[in-house]
């Protein structure tokens, strides 16, 4: 009986299965090709909502049996391609032809547009770490020095600031996590190079745009440098560093969904000055103490909240005198700088993204003996930047971004010759804007962007529309790109304090470029034309907005990492032709800081036997114009060319210790940046002149970075 029962169950199951296997089946078969007709292998072919499917063979063919009936949807899916769908009767799918189109690169992540250098390598290939910047010879661990090697950026050995495509250093702005940084450079004595206030090791992505940047950014006529910090830092670590000019330490504490990083640095040039004196007569050496901290939290549902706080204090005292003035005075400098930024970013469903942020910058300077013995200059600048932005992606073809931002600025300056306040003033104003950005794919290879910003400046109560349009065409590894846009920026505070009704300075930029990226090679060629108007002028204390000018030129860039194993080289050449009438220029002239030819060559070689990266950089720039009051005309002369040969070596002593040494301008060339002339005629009836040099020609640095905790090795980054 029992056996019988078992048999029955068996029979039942058997029958049941047989019924299934004898159900009507159809064959789905065909071929899958790409948009050029080439057969595609390994494509995932399946019937939507079922498990039935297969992978295509080498010749693009495929076939499988299906039990599905009626109308079905056949899908073909492959990495890097848009999926293809085919609807039809299950019975009629035995000879199908499927075509897969490459995914539209444009809306994925456009990383090639005119003027844009994304050092992070959003091609994800070069997850270029800040270490790369630190180890490039000539960069000396400074972001701006590293960026200065890219085409379009002019050599500025005496100021260390970015001057891009014929624009002066004011025209370039820095952003951290999309929020504006009011004073990104450290303050240094005259003619010595400033550095970035914030350590490169803080940033994950360094994204430099030498022009034609997105409507996301404003108040910059030339270029923007958006820096992004890490979203998460999953490793707990701690480390210290000892440098020839100071010391530092910091670390990160990581939790499951959040992390806290901190960093402290102390810089003192005193001991270095004793060994290698510069042109100054120091009383108290240049000292800078800084502390930074960042808290990051990944919230549930894809939200990321980051807060960054940095404070630094700089001080020095020196004996100084103006050129051709024998009177020596004591100059005391003190500066306190605070920067706070807090951002929130969230990816909502259905293609929506949201961003909001606030940044507070405050900078306070006090200079005793600024211009005359026992005078005092007090300058307090502050800014609150608020930004909100939303993004919606409608299919793969169209993306809309809309945002609003506000910059509330304040500057108060007083120049005292005790007990009287001689000059000074205070301005408090706001810049409010709305922006709208449309990104669309016209076809798989053609991408467009049309955007606009409406900006209101409270000082002159002016509303301005700033349009921008770009077009990118892609052919395999080649890109062609064209951009036109209008940008504006308020004049410098020193002008606004005198005349609050000055117009914003404006610049039309037109850029055409060609790019090629393949097999570790990057080649870029760009031609630009910039037209400036409403530049602020100051002739005999008449402050007006009637200046104008132009800058045009060619940028060439070549980067290759594959030609010789372990060798990376970079070549950048820029030709710039610019003239402007601004400031106290009586006529339109080539600006004093501009150079016509700029060339930089950087080599980096990883030498495995001694575990070292060796870097060599050479930088050349043709002479700068200067004005000689002894002769007719304006800016009649040109200085001798600039050249600097820099070396660096980074040596991994062991897993926990890295030694970095660098030397700039090892040939000791005495570069001349300008000439200054006495304000009165000498006995021979001529104005006496003398060259302007950097406070020192060469600089050597050696640093040792030690990781104290855990397993992390050759990691100089505390963040």
């Amino acid at each position: 009986m029992k056996t019988h029962c078992r048999f029955q169950i068996f029979l039942f199951v058997f029958l049941f299965q047989t019924i299934i296997s004898y159900a009507q089946t159809y064959t789905v078969a065909g071929i899958v090709v790409d948009d050029k007709g080439a057969p595609m292998m390994s494509v995932n072919i399946y019937i939507s909502e079922t498990l039935e499917g297969t992978s295509s063979r080498e010749d693009g063919s495929f076939d499988f049996k299906t039990t599905a009936k009626g109308e079905i949807t056949l899908c073909a899916q492959m990495l890097g391609y848009n999926p293809a769908y085919l609807k039809g009767e299950a019975s009629g799918m035995d000879r199908v032809h499927l075509v897969l189109h490459p995914q539209n690169i444009a809306l994925q992540e456009v990383f090639v547009t005119a003027g844009n250098y994304r050092l992070q390598g959003s091609s994800k290939w070069k997850e270029m770490s800040p270490v790369s910047i630190a180890t490039t010879a000539g960069a000396a661990g400074d972001i701006y020095n590293g960026i200065a090697l890219l085409p379009g950026v002019q050599a500025a050995g005496e100021s260390g600031k970015l001057m891009v495509r014929g624009g002066d250093s004011r025209e370039s702005q820095t952003f951290i996590d999309e929020m504006h940084v009011l004073s990104p450079y450290t303050y240094t004595p005259e003619n010595s190079a400033a550095r970035g206030r914030y350590s490169p090791f803080l940033f994950e992505g360094i994204n430099f745009s030498s022009g034609g940047f997105s409507s996301d950014y404003s108040q910059s006529l030339s270029s923007v440098l958006p820096l992004t910090t890490k979203d998460e830092s999953p490793v707990t670590k701690i480390g210290v560093s000892l440098l020839s000019v100071g010391m530092g330490g910091g670390g990160t504490k990581a939790w499951a969904s959040s992390s806290l990083s901190f960093n402290g640095d102390y810089q003192n040039i005193g001991p270095y000055n004793k060994l290698f004196p510069d042109n100054y007569d120091w009383i108290n050496p240049y000292q800078r103490i800084s502390g930074e901290s960042q808290f990051r939290k990944t919230l549930a549902n894809k939200g990321i909240w980051k807060t960054y706080l940095a404070y630094d204090r700089t001080s020095f005292a020196q004996h100084t005198s103006e050129a051709f003035n024998p009177i020596n005075r004591r100059l005391d400098f003190e500066e306190d700088n605070l920067y706070l930024n807090s951002t929130f970013r969230k990816t909502l469903g259905k293609g929506y993204k949201f961003f909001s942020g606030i940044a507070v910058s405050s900078n306070k300077k006090r200079i005793d003996g600024a211009k005359l013995a026992s005078d005092a200059l007090l300058d307090t600048e502050s800014e609150i930047h608020l930004k909100i932005k939303g993004e919606k992606r409608y299919s793969n073809l169209y993306k809309l971004t809309a945002g609003a931002e506000s910059m509330l600025r304040r500057d108060s300056l007083s120049y005292m010759y005790p007990p009287a306040v001689l000059t000074g003033g205070e301005i408090s104003h706001s810049i409010n804007s709305l922006f709208l950005i449309n990104d669309f794919n016209l076809s798989a290879s053609l991408q467009g962007n049309v955007s606009a910003r409406v900006e209101q400046t409270s000082l002159n109560n002016h509303w301005q529309i700033l349009p921008r349009a770009s077009l990118t065409y892609k052919m395999k590894d080649f890109y062609l790109s064209a951009i036109a846009g209008l940008y504006q920026q308020l004049p410098d505070n020193s002008f606004l304090l005198r005349n609050q009704h000055l117009s914003a300075e404006r610049c039309w930029q037109y850029i055409v470029g060609a790019y090629h990226e393949a097999n570790g090679k990057t080649f870029r060629l760009e031609v630009y034309n910039k037209k400036y108007h409403n530049l602020a002028t100051n002739l005999n204390n008449n402050y007006k907005s009637d200046g104008y000018g132009y800058a045009r030129g060619i940028d060439l860039f070549l980067n290759d990492r594959e030609v010789v194993k372990n060798l990376e080289y970079m070549l950048a050449y820029s030709y710039n032709d610019s003239k402007r009438k601004y400031g106290d220029y009586p006529v339109e002239a080539m600006p004093q800081y501009a150079t016509r030819h700029n060339l930089s060559v950087a080599l980096k070689y990883w030498f495995q036997p001694i575990r070292s990266t060796i870097g060599i950089t050479d930088r050349y720039a043709s002479g700068r114009p200067y004005h000689n009051p002894n002769e007719e005309g304006f800016m009649q002369h040109t200085t001798s060319p600039y050249n600097s040969l820099d070396l660096s070596i980074s040596f991994l002593l062991n897993k926990k210790v890295i030694i970095h040494a660098s030397a700039s301008n090892i040939l000791g060339r005495n570069n001349v940046y300008n000439y200054t002339y006495s304000s009165s005629r000498g006995e021979d009836g001529a104005f006496a002149g003398s060259p302007v040099n950097a406070s020192r020609n060469s600089f050597f640095m050696i640093g040792i970075f030690i990781t104290l905790s855990g397993n992390t090795a050759y990691d100089v980054s505390n963040f």
Binding site: G53, S55, W125, E127, N566
Partner: protein, 218 residues
């Protein structure tokens, strides 16, 4: 006999009812068995791609199951090692990393295995371009394996992969790694003690055994 027939009928009906109600489960384990077997028997990159595609299809049908996503990502990583073309490597790694991110949203996913896979994907990225990606990513990689070990100290995979990565890094730094064989032995013990649930990740054991043979030769 009548009773018996009735019983059978009820049994079969309730059985069918069970199949209907829990439609997903038997079908899932059925197809998963096939996919899992074909993955384990894969002999060529083409076999791997086929197994990967099957896993992807399963993951689209059974959206609440984490294992098919895990294996799609895992095979992507393997394929990135196998493939010579840099662009193709990048495509696989990018997708593998996206899938690992997705895995974090599955409440029942094995957190230790997911963290191991995070580290493994970074390992692939470093292997693709050691000079540039090494310094940038190795801290995160070691961190991921350590998290995996902390969540589940009995998981042999992160122990094995961490030992292996430490050895490779020591080689790169021109140093020796005396702990390597000891760590491998530990991983082997863990592999032997491990009782794997159906379809759970179980890979790595053969490789540990092979590496241990090299250890013994020295």
């Amino acid at each position: 006999m009548k009773k018996m027939k009735l019983f059978l009928l009820i049994l079969s009906l309730s059985g069918l009812g069970f199949i209907n109600a829990q439609n997903a489960q038997p079908e899932f384990s059925d197809i998963m068995t096939r996919a899992y077997t074909s993955l384990q028997n894969a002999e060529s990159p083409q076999d791997l791609v086929n197994a990967r595609n099957t896993m992807e299809r399963i993951s689209m049908k059974f959206t609440d199951q984490w294992l098919p996503v895990y294996y799609t990502s895992y095979v992507d990583i393997i394929l990135s090692f196998v493939n010579e073309n840099k662009e193709t490597k990048l495509t696989y790694i990018t997708e593998a990393k996206e899938l690992v991110k997705k895995l974090n949203n599955y409440p029942d996913a094995d957190k230790s295995e997911v963290s191991t896979l995070t580290g493994f994907a970074l390992n692939a990225q470093i292997a693709a371009d050691p000079e540039n990606n090494g310094p940038a990513l190795f801290g995160e990689l070691i961190g991921a394996y350590k998290v995996a070990i902390a969540i589940d100290p009995s998981n042999p995979r992160p122990v094995y992969l961490l030992a292996r990565f430490n050895r490779d890094m020591a080689k790169f730094m021109g140093q020796t790694s005396p702990e390597f064989c000891k760590e491998l032995l530990k991983a082997k013990e863990l592999y032997e003690a491990r009782k794997d649930k159906p379809f759970y990740p179980s890979w790595g054991k053969e490789e540990v055994t092979r590496l241990l043979l090299e250890c013994n030769k020295q």
